[in-house]
């Protein structure tokens, strides 16, 4: 078995190119004859668009052409990939999402016109000479006001601003209400899950290119899923068949969800390149990113937990408003529903659950998946209400959780919200986190803080997530307009080296390092004999890309299945070469042996025979050694864990400082522990960012007030502590070949409630009757809560 196989923390092969400035990001690509586009964007949130006069701008130096909505009359809108059915069996309201504003402006940042010029500076200069004639309308920003009778409508052709009113599980509603009526104790909490901007450090970029000789188009784009973009843009927007369209996503500088979606700029550059017969490039500024990248979260929730007299959870009821923004982004409708409602059981045995979600159109940027997508929103409200219940009943929050956990002997466990957890051990991660954080020793630390005039608190949260997205037949029933399998082609070369072409996409996750470890383990060769190719539809099989912590669980499983086919065929060849029965052939340490004999052929001898088939069973098998597998998971995977946060609060200023953070996760089997730990660090960093710093704020007119890094508080090195991580509590996934669960989102899901619970705890210990503070816990908010 190679020492660099599964479970080894080998260094990342990606790193040298990034550390020396030799990465190849989309903006690093410049094509011959390239023109540049600048988008003129709306600076008001809601208006009737009377006309756009481009005549002066068109005469400016370097301008090649100016496009407006009229140029896209023969082109489709940006498609939505998920249709949610409402409580009454009706499909959601689904407005057209045009490439450029048609007749009406619906959010600040919406594209009004596109100037293509020889240089980006010329395009920008010319855009300033475009005259836009519009009549401003009142903006619809607050979700509850948007749902009020007589509210101004974002879309005139819809019946209201309500996209859907979703009930889950609708048949449980009466039984849930009955349980609440008979409960010994009910804990109620109203809270906001603050709107966020994903902010991968690389802004989005798109370059369209058109080849006249074969009438084909190529799009270079900062995407997490190039095949999805090719399908959506080709089939639904521009009408280009897949074989005439190539999408390339080279090195991508972070995604966090917001680079899943198909954006207008991608379609524009592809379209304009064909019109102009020149490559057309767009590079987003950060300011544009804030008003054009899909935002995340933005839920307003009331949650109620019913307990019996022995503190067992007997029912849960939630009522959530979820912001969709002005249009439906690619997967937006699925986030507050199937990625949120299905998680409301959390780690608990709560038998009756009812979730209501009203998805609302507003004059804001579209909202879609951001790291965790629905699951952080579910976890935050659940772990906050459980904490509040413990406080109300004077119980240790850890022990109230423990009492209500699904026990490890109860798996597989079917929750009342339609999912079946395959495996888990929630007490194990709880006990691990309690030990790692020295929970028992908290009081001494609190006294030490108190001596320095600081309030100290400790908070914990437990999370479950459904990832490894997703079984296609299941999500199809739930409204997905796509399959969610993954693919891999394993190409073994004549001299034994391997190239894996995967539909997964790496934009920081280190697949180029970790995926080869799996093949190395299976065949018994060194990982450096395996190369990973990803990010180009021209040389990878149709795959769904990377999001939802799915790459190793679904993409890795596809690679395993393809490699199993390779090994099966290689054994046939080896049997022929050694004149032995195929059933007796064993593969170990990169050599084929015949059981019970000393006969052996090396991996390279077999691969060479496959391509130089002189002595070869040509009547039985084809030459060559290349196999493809598509893997469609049988179920979601269910990582879980316990996070504990300790904070100090300055009573004079309300400033919160995170003193320690502990994450004990159960990710099932782990391929590269170093990479997994890094994923948790980053996820926790984003979760602490949400809880403490980040907030996307619109004013009543729909102007984005937090539209740059001067105003949107990104977590910086001084805001975060060292993060203690552990993934030794391992209950392997039971339904994929690697026993893996995925680790990409956990940190962002589990951390916000732990931090808020810790701050509320600190205030309580200081005698402040504060039951909740909405995120981000800025000094002003904490001070106001203390002194309110």
């Amino acid at each position: 078995m190679p020492k660099d196989g599964i479970g080894a923390s080998i260094k990342r092969r990606e790193d040298p190119r990034f550390l020396t400035g030799r990465g190849r990001y989309t903006d690093d690509i410049n094509l011959n004859g390239q023109a540049h586009v600048h988008f003129l964007r709306a600076d008001v949130a809601h208006a009737v668009l009377n006309g756009i006069d481009t005549s002066a701008a068109a005469a400016m130096p370097g301008v090649l052409r100016i496009f407006t909505a009229a140029d896209f009359s023969g082109v489709g809108g940006l498609p939505c990939g998920w249709q949610v059915t409402d409580r009454h069996g009706q499909p959601m309201q689904e407005p057209k999402h045009p490439i450029m504003a048609e007749g009406k402006i619906r959010h600040v940042g919406e594209i009004l016109a596109a100037v293509v010029a020889e240089s980006v500076e010329q395009a920008r200069d010319a855009a300033e000479a475009i005259e836009v004639d519009y009549d401003e309308l009142p903006a619809v920003i607050d979700m509850k006001a948007a749902c009020a009778e007589g509210a101004v409508k974002v879309h005139d052709d819809l019946t209201s601003n309500l996209c859907y009113d979703w009930g889950f599980v609708e048949e449980n509603k009466a039984a849930v209400d009955e349980a609440f009526a008979s409960a010994a104790h009910v804990t109620t909490l109203e809270l906001v899950n603050n709107r966020l901007v994903a902010n991968p450090m690389e802004p989005r970029v798109a370059i369209g290119d058109y080849a006249l000789h074969d009438d084909s188009s190529t799009l270079y784009t900062t995407s997490q899923n190039p095949h999805v973009i090719r399908l959506l843009m080709g089939a639904f927007v521009l009408g280009i068949p897949e074989h005439k369209l190539r999408v390339v996503a080279p090195d991508v500088g972070g995604g966090f969800g917001t680079k899943i979606f198909h954006y207008a700029e991608e379609a524009f550059c592809t379209f304009a390149a064909k019109q102009l017969r020149r490559p057309v490039k767009w590079t987003s500024t950060r300011s544009e990113a804030f008003i054009s990248d899909a935002h995340g979260r933005d839920h307003v929730t009331k949650i109620e937990l019913a307990l019996d007299s022995e503190h067992n959870f007997i029912a849960l009821r939630t009522d959530t408003y979820a912001n969709m923004g002005a249009y439906l982004s690619t997967f937006a409708p699925s986030v507050p529903t199937w990625l949120h409602g299905t998680l409301m059981a959390g780690n608990y045995r709560t038998p009756l659950i009812y979730v209501n979600v009203k998805a609302v159109f507003t004059n804001t940027v579209p909202v879609d998946a951001y790291r965790g997508a629905g699951r952080p929103e579910a976890t935050f409200q659940l772990e906050r209400v459980v904490d509040k219940a413990a406080r109300e009943l004077a119980l240790d929050p850890a022990e109230l959780r423990r009492q209500n956990f699904i026990r490890k002997d109860q798996f597989p466990y079917a929750t009342p919200v339609a999912v079946e957890y395959d495996t888990g051990d929630y007490e194990a991660t709880l006990d691990k986190a309690l030990a790692m954080s020295d929970y028992a020793g908290f009081d001494a630390r609190r006294q030490e803080s108190e001596a320095r005039g600081k309030l100290r608190g400790i908070g914990l949260s437990h999370y479950i997530e459904a990832c490894g997205i997703a079984p296609s037949n299941l999500v199809g029933q739930l409204g997905a307009r796509a399959g969610l399998y993954e693919s891999a082609t394993v190409r073994v070369n004549a001299t034994g080296g391997i190239v894996v072409m995967t539909g997964s996409h790496s934009h920081g996750q280190g697949h180029e390092t970790s995926f080869p470890q799996v093949i190395a383990e299976m065949i018994g060769i060194a990982p450096d004999q395996v190369e990973i190719v990803h990010g180009d539809t021209a040389n990878t099989p149709m795959g769904m890309g990377t999001y939802g912590s799915r790459s190793i669980a679904v993409g890795g499983s596809a690679m395993v299945r393809a490699t199993e086919k390779i090994i099966a065929k290689a054994k046939k060849i080896a049997a022929h070469l050694m004149e032995a029965a195929e059933a007796d052939i064993e593969l170990k340490d990169g050599a084929f042996t015949v059981a019970g004999t000393d006969k052996s052929v090396a991996w390279g001898d077999v691969t060479l025979a496959a391509y130089v088939p002189h002595n070869y069973p040509l009547d039985e098998i084809e030459p060559g050694l290349e196999e493809t597998a598509f893997y469609d998971p049988a179920n979601f995977t269910y990582p879980s864990g316990c996070y504990i946060c300790e904070v100090e609060v300055d009573p004079d200023t309300g400033r919160v400082e995170v003193q320690s953070f502990t994450a004990a996760d159960d990710f099932g089997n782990v391929i590269n522990p170093m990479i997994v730990a890094g994923q948790v660090h980053g996820g926790v960093g984003q979760g602490i960012g949400q809880a403490l710093l980040e907030n996307c704020v619109y004013d009543g007119d729909g102007q984005l007030l937090s539209a740059s890094y001067m105003d949107y508080a990104m977590p910086r090195a001084r805001d975060l502590p060292m993060i203690a991580v552990d993934h030794s509590c391992c209950t392997p996934c039971t339904h994929n070949p690697l026993g893996v669960k995925g680790c990409g989102e956990a940190g962002a899901i589990g951390s916000p409630p732990a931090l808020v619970n810790a701050v509320v705890d600190a205030l309580h210990r200081a005698g402040k009757e504060v039951s909740h503070i909405d995120m981000p816990l800025s000094p002003a908010r904490v001070w106001a809560a203390m002194n309110g």
Partner: protein, 159 residues
């Protein structure tokens, strides 16, 4: 306007408009695309380079202001034989990067710190990185990498 500067030890000449930022000149004029542009308010630090030995966000100065200057970019940071420098190697050893986009700026900032304070404390490292935003790592392994590069003992990356 014509301008001339020493970049990574080599004399280079080029043309830039008065409004061209040094970051844009390095990328578009010289093809040194390791210097990244992550924002437009001089906050993120992805474009950090050294100008006459000082750490500078290259989006905060015009190219013409660097006329005649000694400029070092991420492309000039490896050892003469092409191997990774001690600092770069520490970033790899301690998994101090994920997507790699902020990484050039982080390395340039860290190099400047270590020149100023050869053995910085964790708090000094975090304070120095205030102008460099990373969205992937939570800074945990970046801090460890810089501690390690300064010769101070740290646990290995998986721990």
């Amino acid at each position: 306007m014509k301008l001339k500067m020493h970049v990574n030890g080599r004399e280079v000449t080029g043309e830039a408009e008065g409004r061209t930022l040094l970051s844009a000149f390095l990328r578009d004029g010289l093809g040194l695309t390791g210097t990244h542009i992550g924002c437009d308010t001089s906050q993120c630090g992805a474009c950090t380079v050294h100008v006459n030995g000082r750490q500078v966000k290259s989006c905060t100065m015009f190219a013409i202001e660097a006329d005649g200057a000694e400029v070092t970019t991420i492309e000039g940071m490896e050892n003469a034989d092409g191997s990774l420098s001690v600092l770069q190697q520490a970033f790899q050893d301690h998994h101090g990067l994920q997507c790699g986009f902020c990484t050039p700026g982080m390395v340039m900032a860290a190099a400047a710190l270590l020149r100023e304070i050869p053995q910085p404390t964790e708090a000094q490292i975090r304070a120095h990185l205030d102008g460099n935003i990373c969205r992937c790592t939570g800074y945990h392994n970046i801090v460890k990498a810089i501690l390690a590069a300064s010769g101070q003992p740290v646990a290995m990356a998986a721990e």
